[in-house]
Amino acid sequence: MKRSTDLYVDGKRNILVADDEMINRELLNNILCDEYDVLMAEDGEMAYDVIKKNRNTLSLILLDLMMPKLNGLDLLSRLKEDPDLKGIPVIVLTSDQASEVESLVRGAADFIPKPYPQPDVIRARISRSIELAEDRQIISATERDELTGLYSYDYFSRYAEQFDKYHPNSDMDALCLDVNHFHIVNERFGMAKGDEILRKIAGCLLTVFSSSDSVICRKNADTFLVYCTHRDDYTLITDKVSEVCCDMPTSVKLRIGVYSSCDKKLDVRARFDRAKITADLIRNNYSVFISTFDETLMENELFADQLVDEFPKALAEKQFKVFFQPKFNIEGDKPVLSSAEALVRWFHPTLGMISPGKFIPLFEEDGLISQLDEYIWRCAAETIADWKMRLGISVPVSVNLSRAEMYDPALVDTFEKITSETGTTAKDIYLEITESAYVRDGDQIVDRVKELRDHGFFIEMDDFGSGYSSLNMISELPIDALKLDMMFIRNAFDKQNDTRMISIVIDIADYLGVPVIAEGVETEEQYLALKKLGCTIIQGYYFSKPVPAEEFEKFLLEKDA
């Protein structure tokens, strides 16, 4: 049970009025409602339920002794026997002097006689009882973390606020410090070693920061928080910690998120949330150990949250539109339209068009991607069916699959359902599966791809060259085309005009007997060079950017003519 004064900075405390007489409840509510949030109960059982439900936020109970179902004295005894509830102060409302003594014996904090005294008296007694109870709470809570001797988190927040109060003009930093891969330390060397490291870090922090200009705590596990006067550089700390831990069986590296020169209008917790977000940014980075918060970071976080929150609505309202980018076969004299890639665009009602680069990674993280992808697959299939019906012509359209979808045992069923429901076939839909998907859990992915292929789907390995496939396994992969990672094109033409890597990939494709698709082709120079190297298919702004389905029809009609 935690009830500290910090909780009430912005809100009113909760008080329960338990009295079976409505008029008494209304009188007390009227007296107290400006200062407190007043909960009501009209009998003893109801009061008990309300107390249990609000045990962490209830500051005081005003209890009438004569109530139906469960009388006040019995309720009082029940509360005092319950370790979770006994800390909540109870003021008894009574008109009998005999009951006053009995209530105090049973643990009431005070009593208020009936008829009620002046409202001022009632309020003063209530506020005094609450104050006493909260002070008692503070004294009994643990001030120090047993392991390190630093403050516990509860105390830390309180002391950080006090620091602000006494040093209103100090420029303050909020720091969140974690040990890189600490769980592995515990795992490999045992808890005792882990604890030793934490103690060494604590000791080190105490030498770097003086108590006159900082407050330090261990929040949990390997997370430390420091609230200190502003410094420009914290590398001293990471260096020192590594130094004092040099006799440990593994090197210890701290990762520090710094929210520099805090906005003091934010509450302490929010300041350290910012420090934490910042520290998490460099979680898997082995070369950067200190990261500093800036506002755009927060905006990005909030923006990301907004996109994820609004996804279901956007999907229902069809804010996602599928665009088509043509792919041309360049083997002959003239480029010929061969297929298209379906690419999603989000037309947000207030934010305008949002780039897929912004929302796809978020949805991949949140698991929303499969809903979006299925929607795109279906749109693509419907568009193909529409072209066939109206124009009597179509080209295959490739759609993208995310890594997570490759684990879905119903994936083939999903595609079969889409094709049968839209009146298309497996030949109409190409599947782009990123190379990196094959790398982890290779066998499982390869089996799934084989299954798709056995059902007639054409598989393009996307982003080839970015996923570090072993050349050894490539020959066994079930694929129908290699799609060159865009970086090859960029690197080949940007810098020293070195197209040798592209030649190698084309040789690999030849060896496998599959065509090479180059995407991101923007200039005639690139187009001609790729043609000369023996690249089969080209996609990119040189021919066309991704366009809406209606606009894509012109490519179909051209091909037909």
């Binding site: 079976d20 009227n30 008109s95 409202p119």
Partner: protein, 113 residues
């Protein structure tokens, strides 16, 4: 009509009652309107008639608390005395008390129309 003066004339301690209502007259009058219809008046009469002194005490005790808080002295006083007698479970003739209470309650109710 229910006014502070009329309540005073009946002998109510309106200063005290109003102060418990934070000086809000409308709120005070609203609560008085409610207490006149309090079901405990009937419960008290029934329980006394049935010589069920526990139930009678509970009803009287509840009324006492509310009437006292609203400072409706002319009804509060007989209810107070009655409550103390019932607490002792005295088997006596309560009809005079009940009559007084009923009369004073009617006088108050008369102000409400």
């Amino acid at each position: 009509m229910l006014t502070i003066d009329a309540l005073k004339q009946l002998g109510c301690n309106t200063d005290e009652g109003l102060s418990r209502c934070m000086g809000n007259e409308a709120f005070y009058f609203k609560l008085i309107g409610r207490v006149v219809d309090d079901k405990n008046f009937q419960a008290l009469e029934d329980a006394v008639a049935a010589k069920n002194f526990d139930a009678a005490f509970e009803a009287a005790h509840s009324l006492k608390g509310v009437l006292g808080n609203l400072a409706l002295t002319p009804i509060y006083e007989p209810v107070y005395e009655l409550t103390e007698l019932l607490r002792e479970k005295k088997d006596i003739d309560y009809s005079e008390y009940l009559k007084t209470i009923s009369e004073k309650r009617s006088e108050l109710a008369g102000l409400l129309v």
